[in-house]
């Protein structure tokens, strides 16, 4: 759809995404999404209770993922993992547990308020192998072949250039690296009016 969008519509999408996730960073995910969030959402998606059981409630409350990328395959001790669109960092911290002290996890998000929140969560949990930084999926600030696995949860649907984001993801993976991705997909035709199509982008 990006080719069909006007510049003002692209600005509206970007502004809508930023405003929505600023609200989530400030007040948690509750009430911002039309599906279960927080610990209830994680439980429904089968997140490992032996890992998230150690997470404080205020950390779990910021989870707004659309699925469980960890259900797609294991992350192994010692691996390097990138979490694209990490939000408040819940999935990054889960990954940090799974790869252990010998591994490393980088959480990346376009929203500075989310990165601040993620860093606070990381400090609270004391996971020294997890770091967070601001950045975009379409221009990943990492060298080629840097990660064993890339995870992402509910983010690629928000990007305006999905092909570029996927090429960047492929670039930073090591040969044999895995992409474990949860995302929203269209199941029915969007409303015919342009305003509805733009608003649906960041619902």
């Amino acid at each position: 759809m990006s080719e069909e969008m006007t510049e003002p519509e692209i600005c509206q999408v970007r502004q809508g995404i930023r405003q929505k996730y600023d609200r989530v960073a400030a007040a948690g995910a509750g009430g911002c999404f039309q599906y279960p969030t927080g610990k209830a959402g994680m439980d429904l998606q089968g997140y490992p209770p032996e890992v998230i059981g150690d997470f404080p409630p205020e950390v779990l409350a910021t989870f707004c993922g659309v699925g469980n990328p960890f259900s797609l395959g294991p992350l192994n001790p010692g691996e390097a993992v990138l979490d694209i669109g990490c939000g408040a960092g819940v999935d990054s911290l889960v990954a940090g547990h799974l790869v252990g002290a010998g591994g490393r996890v980088v959480g990346l998000d376009v929203t500075p308020a989310m990165i601040e929140r993620a860093r606070a969560h990381q400090a609270r949990l004391g996971l020294a192998n997890v770091t967070f930084q601001v950045g975009e999926a379409e221009a990943l600030p990492f060298p080629d072949h840097d990660f064993d696995a890339v995870i992402s949860n509910g983010v690629f649907n928000l990007t305006l250039n999905k092909e570029k984001a996927l090429k960047e993801t492929h670039r930073v993976l090591k040969p044999g690296g895995r992409l474990l991705l949860a995302d929203m997909v269209l199941m029915a035709a969007l409303p015919p009016d342009r305003a509805g199509r733009v608003e649906n982008w960041f619902q």
Binding site: Q34, T37, V66, K174, L179, L180, L181, A182, V185, Q203
Partner: protein, 72 residues
């Protein structure tokens, strides 16, 4: 974007063994549902495997996990 179109983009980006593994039941609008995708970057000397499961699974039937619009 429909799942099959996203799978095509994954292949175009260079991934192989791409698959839409299953739907999650989480719906952000009447038009969208969560889905789980998998893909790999070719290892050195490995042949592409583009015929891996690209077929879409059946949509998730309605269940408690999908909130009413406006809910949390």
């Amino acid at each position: 974007m429909p799942g099959k179109d996203f799978l095509a983009l994954m292949l175009k980006a260079g991934f192989h063994r791409v698959a839409l593994v299953r739907y999650t039941g989480f719906k952000s609008s009447p038009y969208t549902e969560g889905a789980l995708f998998y893909g790999e970057k070719l290892a050195a000397g490995q042949a592409r495997d583009d015929l891996a499961s690209q077929t879409e699974p059946a949509p998730t039937p309605p269940k408690e996990a999908a909130c009413e619009p406006g809910g949390t």
